[in-house]
């Protein structure tokens, strides 16, 4: 068994997780291979395409790869399919299954990237394809350290919102890689999607849990120019809810009182700003400048 730290949790894993920092921490979550049912029993509170959710349990079937069973925020059991590689199994495990586990544990996982600046955490969130990963990688090129990509889990510690580190990589499409001046021929493509490449960011990684101070919500538009606006009151809450990780599952599983606590803490301790950018990529550098300049000006 191997020991790691991820999202502030001590992980004891039967499977090697190369992209998580090794740490001999007290175990909060166990990941192991084992039998996984094809269907969950009990009261199904949400289901979708090849997944089911009860109050304490989640089951997801990834064709050709594995079935994942996430139990009570403390265990992920994996039933591997013949021919699946450990790389694929780990890759999919570090998406929805770990995201649901974080929901089960009462964290607030967002579909977001996060980076460290002046010992604080800054989150970039938005829909798929809006530029979260590209911006994160660009920031590391400018000397900033990444905290996490894809899933950013906020936890309340002493009523203060905090962000803990996740896996130390980013996945980028070819266009983004070329724009960042990297040679995709030297990078490893995804098995299922050879046009998406893994960027190892372990050398630009912050391995500390940090207080959350800013969230930037990215959206796109059909006109030129960048627009930045601060979100206040209910709009702030809505921006979090709209970018929660796996919203259909979150809606079924999130304790409303917990959500109110997050909302209150983030409402008073974190600035949330929306930046709307043109759909084309020509201004990604300016977008990065805008975020950094805005943060420094706060």
């Amino acid at each position: 068994m191997y020991k790691y730290k991820a999202f502030g949790l001590g992980v004891l894993s039967e499977i090697v997780l190369n992209d998580l920092p090794s740490e001999n921490a007290e175990t909060d979550v166990t990941i192991r291979f084992g039998d996984v049912p094809e269907q969950l029993g009990g009261d199904i509170i949400n289901q979708g395409v090849r997944y089911q959710l009860t109050k304490n349990s989640f089951l997801q079937n990834i064709n050709r790869v594995a079935r994942y069973w996430v139990k009570e925020g403390t265990e992920i059991i994996i039933k591997k399919y013949d021919g699946a590689t450990n790389e694929e199994i780990v890759f999919f495990m570090l998406t929805t299954p770990i995201g649901v586990l974080l929901h089960q544990r009462g964290h607030l996982p967002l579909h977001a990237s996060a980076f460290e600046i002046n010992n604080k955490a800054v989150i970039i969130t938005g829909n798929s394809g809006v530029g979260k990963s590209t911006l994160l990688t660009m920031l590391t090129q400018r000397g900033y350290k990444m905290l996490t990509e894809e899933i950013c889990a906020i936890e309340l510690i002493n009523n203060k919102p905090q962000v803990a580190p996740g896996p130390a990589y980013s996945y980028l499409w070819k266009d983004a890689i070329l724009h960042l001046g990297k040679d995709f021929k030297t990078l490893k493509g995804r098995i299922n999607n050879p046009d998406k490449f893994k960027i190892d960011l372990s050398k630009s990684y912050c391995n500390k849990t940090l207080p959350l101070v800013s969230i930037y919500v990215l959206e796109t538009k059909n006109s030129p120019g960048l627009i930045k606006e601060e979100l206040l009151g209910f709009e702030k809450f809505l921006s979090l809810w709209n970018n929660i990780y796996r919203p259909r599952i979150a809606k079924a599983i999130t304790n409303p009182i917990n959500m109110l606590k997050f909302n209150a803490a983030i409402g008073t301790q974190t600035t949330v700003k929306r930046i709307t950018r043109p759909k084309d990529w020509s201004n990604i550098d300016k977008l990065c400048d805008l975020i950094l300049n805005d943060f420094q000006a706060q």
């Binding site: 979708g48 395409v49 997801q60 990834i62 064709n63 798929s128 070329l178 995804r190 538009k221 084309d280």
Partner: protein
């Protein structure tokens, strides 16, 4: 449960105009609705966001064929959870998966409104939409392997949509088995608006008076849509196109296509042009 009406068309055939009309019909009110808030119809079948949400997966981590395999299941779940009829836009051709199941299951399909437009006019409009030459547009529309959102270099908001050629796109939908089909021509929408829209509203099982339909038509006039787009933009416009609501005219092709191009388009799409009244059997162009 059969509660999805697919609003299907080749691109640039009047689908958006019809959805704006439908929005104005279903959302009662005296003022035209903002073209950027078409809330009464239910998105597009190839929405990556819908797929990711209903599968609890990033579609970008699957192969294109794996995505196609799961799409019918996505529509099953959407249909199961719906409490009313859904109106979903589609640009995909009606195709079948390797196991011979259709991409759009008949088990969830209440009906299809297939909107068709003269391919001569579509060619010109499509060239503007794709920001390409008319010649390129002709080639793309004749290409049976042509797909939208097939860019492998970045993450589109849409999933891959197989269009086939314009001719085969029309044939694929019109010949689809076991689903009620209503074909609506763009030209009839323009020339005989009230009757055409009323007939389609009736096909969809909606109960509205002639007065209400006429009111919704008046709130969806093409000139007003153009005006709205100039004032506030239109979020469904692709970044490549200068404008979405460009001309909307019947026969605008005459200003843009030379004789050779017209002959090529007719040769490429004769079957559906004849079937849907764009060409007479003598070879005369109708519109």
């Amino acid at each position: 449960m059969k509660n999805i009406i697919w609003l299907a068309s080749y691109p640039k055939s009047g689908n958006t105009w019809f959805r704006i009309f439908l929005n104005n019909l279903l959302c009662k009110g005296d003022e035209p609705f903002d073209i950027n808030t078409i809330t009464s119809t239910n998105g597009i079948a190839s929405s990556r966001e819908f797929f990711d949400q209903f599968c609890a997966l990033e579609s970008s981590e699957l192969t294109l064929n794996e995505i196609d395999q799961l799409r019918p299941e996505v529509y099953q779940v959407i249909s199961t959870e719906a409490t009313k009829t859904l109106f979903i836009k589609v640009h995909d051709a009606y195709t079948y998966l390797p196991d011979n199941k259709p991409l759009f299951p008949s088990s969830v399909t209440k009906g299809v409104v297939y909107i068709i437009r003269n391919p001569l006019d579509v060619t010109v409009s499509f060239a503007n939409h794709q920001n390409c030459s008319v010649q390129k547009s002709i080639e793309l529309m004749a290409n049976n392997k042509y797909c939208l959102s097939n860019n492998k270099k970045s993450c589109s908001t849409q999933l891959r949509q197989k269009l086939l050629s314009w001719d085969n796109h029309a044939k694929s939908w019109v010949s689809a088995q076991n689903i009620p089909m209503h074909v609506m021509r763009y030209e009839d929408m323009k020339l005989n608006t009230l009757e055409t829209f009323a007939s389609t509203v009736n096909f969809m099982g909606l109960k509205y008076s002639v007065y209400e339909i006429e009111k919704a038509i008046n709130k969806s006039k093409f000139e007003d849509l153009q005006k709205q787009e100039i004032e506030k933009g239109f979020k469904e416009k692709t970044p490549k196109a200068k404008i979405f609501f460009r001309k909307g005219e019947i026969g605008n092709w005459r200003k843009h296509l030379n004789r050779e191009q017209v002959e090529t388009i007719i040769k490429n799409h004769k079957g559906s042009m004849l079937k849907h009244g764009y060409l007479t059997h003598k070879g005369d162009i109708v519109f």
